[in-house]
């Protein structure tokens, strides 16, 4: 079953510059897709458009998620429908406690699904369980959201949130960048744990390394706003060897 269907998506930023120039991509439940591509090719723009970030204009094309017109939904409705974006640059929010924030988010999702909200005790129990395998310090949770976190801690916090919110479609924007090898393994572990027949993930990455831990079903190369090549895992190995130059003009 098709979970996400992107059809000929064109998007431009304020000022009118077109960044996405006709992207088509189908993600079925159970699949993991990797998107690779040079800096500035539009990977984060695609992730932003999918998550509902302001400031983009979609001039052509459509995105269907779980049978719904995704682009007509507010960011919070997308999240409540199971979309999760792990930010390339997680935002620091002074004054908002990480745990408080996460509980608010989780309960918003529960409410949307008509499930009972978690009380403080139930919430803590879930937190403990997820923290354990991500090896996150309790201390990080008592601090303000991402404030003063190291680069790697921010990425781990994103994965922790993902583990808590259990999305149906996770979009990971360079979650592996800036991680040491142990952290990478933990993050990969977090992604793998969520793999299930009814879930899917899109992993944006520059490195073959992540794909060694989380094996993708498909690899796509994004260049200048278009998907110029798609293949299986071996495409990533090819890229590692020859670089993007070989694909740059393919479109």
């Amino acid at each position: 079953m098709s979970l996400l269907n992107i059809d000929n998506l064109h998007a431009s930023v304020e000022g009118g510059r077109e960044i996405l120039k006709g992207i088509s991509l189908e993600v079925k439940a159970g699949e993991v897709h990797a998107i690779m591509g040079p800096n500035g090719s539009g990977k984060s723009t695609l992730a932003g458009v999918l998550a509902g970030r302001e400031g983009y204009t979609v001039s052509q094309g459509s995105v269907t998620y779980d049978g719904r017109d995704l682009l007509a939904m507010s960011p919070e409705d997308r999240a409540r429908a199971g979309i999760f974006l792990a930010f390339q640059y997680p935002v620091e929010i002074p004054g908002v406690n990480n745990m408080y924030f996460l509980r608010m988010a989780l309960n918003a999702l529960h409410r949307a699904r008509g499930e009972p909200e978690l009380d403080a005790g139930q919430f803590l129990k879930t937190v403990r369980a997820k923290l354990k395998f991500l090896e996150i310090e309790d201390d990080l949770l008592q601090r303000a959201v991402n404030v003063g976190f190291s680069g790697g801690e921010k990425k781990r916090n994103e994965i922790f949130q993902m583990a808590m919110l259990e999305p149906r479609l996770a979009i990971l924007d360079e979650t592996d960048s800036g991680l040491d090898i142990d952290a990478l393994r933990l993050v990969a572990n977090g992604i793998n744990r969520l793999r299930a027949p009814d879930r899917a993930a899109i992993m944006i990455t520059h490195y073959q390394r992540l794909l060694d831990y989380v094996e993708p079903d498909f690899v796509h190369v994004l260049s200048e706003g278009r998907i110029v090549r798609s293949g299986d895992k071996s495409l990533a190995a090819e890229l590692e060897k020859y670089g993007y130059a070989a694909f740059g003009d393919a479109a």
């Binding site: 509902g52 970030r53 507010s74 935002v91 929010i93 988010a105």
Partner: protein
């Protein structure tokens, strides 16, 4: 003699010397009244009043509440005496005969007042209705005096005299002069050397006015050397009244005072509060003001610092509609080695207006002064506005002084981050506004008071009509 200003005339007419008061007080009142009459209301041409629109105050004459020592018959006479306000007679609920709000008030302890006015923890509590004391504590520890100003005048004139200030007679602060002339009551807290209060002092003001009336309270907080106290004043009420409060503060050597002012007056009311503090060597004074109410409000805090003394003046204000507030902070570094910290957070929605005037004067011999001032404002609407005027007058050369001001809207990236996790737009905005004022509120060290202030902020946010409900455009397509 100079001419009497017309806007001052109704207040001059309302003045009646009270035969039961001591001569020193009557003399002070008369002289203060003269000073006010010659000075009149401040004008916006004056730098200190440039950003404060006093029109709501000058539009009516606000009949002063009579002092409790004057009998019922005299009340009527006094109130008739004020003519400018039209139907000013009986403008306010009589204080002795009909303490309607006060009757429901427990005298002290952990009992709850309506609408969570009180702290909800044991305190030494004084409750004022229309500026007149209704109930006070009976179980004060040794070395502490805490009573109404009226009673202090009768029983401890030595302390009561300290509630008056020579500047009342100069007219430089006309509302303080008017207050000196007309005040009916107030509170005086005095601690002997080394005395410490085990609970906060809680001063609750409730006003009930059916038409324009003014409540002038005169207070003093006097800590002798090494004494320690926390005072929280809460102002609330119903009606279009005018509160004009003056608090004289003296903090002795090594003494420490925490002074919280929570202003949650009726949205039709006017609230002017002046705190004048003198800090002796090594004294500490921490002032915090939370401003939520009143149509027009102004908080003046003026501090003179002794050697090595430290003061913190912090505050948060959250306003909407056409509410207007001014925080005017004046710090006089008169001696070396003193410290000042100021942090103000403002949240202005709809057509609200705020002003922050922060003057720090460092005199020539005030070397090693360390002063920091920060004012940040969130403007949630295009029509909201803030005027900020920091002023550092530095005459000493070996000092550390800084000030910063910033004005902005809610951060778009933060909002998106929260919404991308499923938190609704309105809830996300509330969360960010609460977070914005948090660091100012966190300057209050007492956890219970901090939580009390936070809950007031959350209540304000609870009735917050966000942009999402006003402007649907941000729910649109990506």
């Amino acid at each position: 003699m100079s001419a009497i200003k017309t806007e001052a005339a109704p207040y001059l007419d309302a003045f009646r010397a009270n035969a039961s008061e001591p001569a020193w007080l009557v003399d002070h009142r008369r002289a203060a009244l003269t000073a006010f009459g010659e000075r009149g209301f401040p004008s916006r041409r004056e730098e200190a009043w440039r950003f404060t629109n006093l029109r709501p105050l000058t539009a009516h004459a606000f009949a002063p509440i009579p002092s409790p020592s004057i009998g019922e018959g005299r009340n009527a006479e006094r109130q008739r005496g004020i003519s400018g306000g039209g139907d000013a007679g009986g403008a306010i609920t009589p204080t002795r005969s009909q303490p309607s709000a006060a009757r429901a008030l427990p005298h002290q302890g952990g009992g709850k007042l309506g609408a969570e006015i009180d702290l909800g923890v044991p305190t030494y509590r004084l409750v004022f209705l229309n500026g007149i004391l209704q109930s006070g504590p009976t179980d004060l520890p040794k070395g502490a005096w805490l009573a109404s100003t009226a009673r202090t005048i009768a029983e401890r004139p030595d302390l009561a005299k300290q509630a008056l200030d020579p500047s009342d007679l100069a007219g430089g602060q006309p509302f303080a002069s008017l207050n000196a002339a007309l005040f009916a009551d107030g509170f005086v807290l005095a601690l002997e050397p080394g005395a410490t209060l085990d609970r906060p002092v809680e001063i609750i003001h409730i006003a009930e006015a059916v038409s324009a009336a003014s409540i002038h309270s005169r207070n003093a907080i006097l800590l002798s050397a090494g004494a320690k106290a926390t005072v929280i004043e809460t102002y609330s009420g119903k009606g279009a009244y005018w509160t004009n409060a003056v608090t004289e503060v003296a903090v002795g050597a090594g003494a420490a005072l925490v002074h919280i002012q929570l202003q949650d007056e009726d949205r039709r009311a006017i609230h002017l509060a002046m705190a004048r503090a003198k800090l002796a060597k090594g004294a500490s004074y921490r002032n915090f003001g939370l401003t939520l109410g009143a149509n027009l409000s102004r908080r003046d805090v003026q501090i003179a610092l002794g050697e090595g003394a430290s003061c913190a003046v912090n505050g948060a204000y959250l306003l909407r509609g056409e509410q207007d507030t001014t925080n005017a902070i004046f710090i006089d570094h008169a001696a070396p080695g003193a410290t000042t910290r100021e942090l103000f957070k403002g949240v202005l929605d709809e057509r609200a207006h705020g002003a922050f005037l922060g003057t720090i004067a460092v005199r020539q011999d005030a070397q090693k002064t360390d002063a920091q001032q920060t004012s940040r404002t969130l403007l949630l609407s295009d029509r909201a506005a803030i005027d900020t005027k920091p002023e550092l007058d530095i005459l000493a050369d070996d000092v550390k002084c800084s000030h910063g001001a910033a004005v902005g809207d809610l951060d778009k990236d933060m909002l998106f981050y929260l919404r991308a996790r499923g938190i609704g737009a309105d809830e996300a905005r509330r969360l960010l506004i609460e977070a914005f004022v948090l660091d100012a509120i966190e300057t209050v060290e007492d956890m219970r008071i901090r939580e009390h202030l936070s809950s007031r902020v959350r209540r304000w946010l609870g009735s917050f009509e966000t942009h999402a409900s006003r402007a649907p455009q941000d729910e649109g397509r990506a």
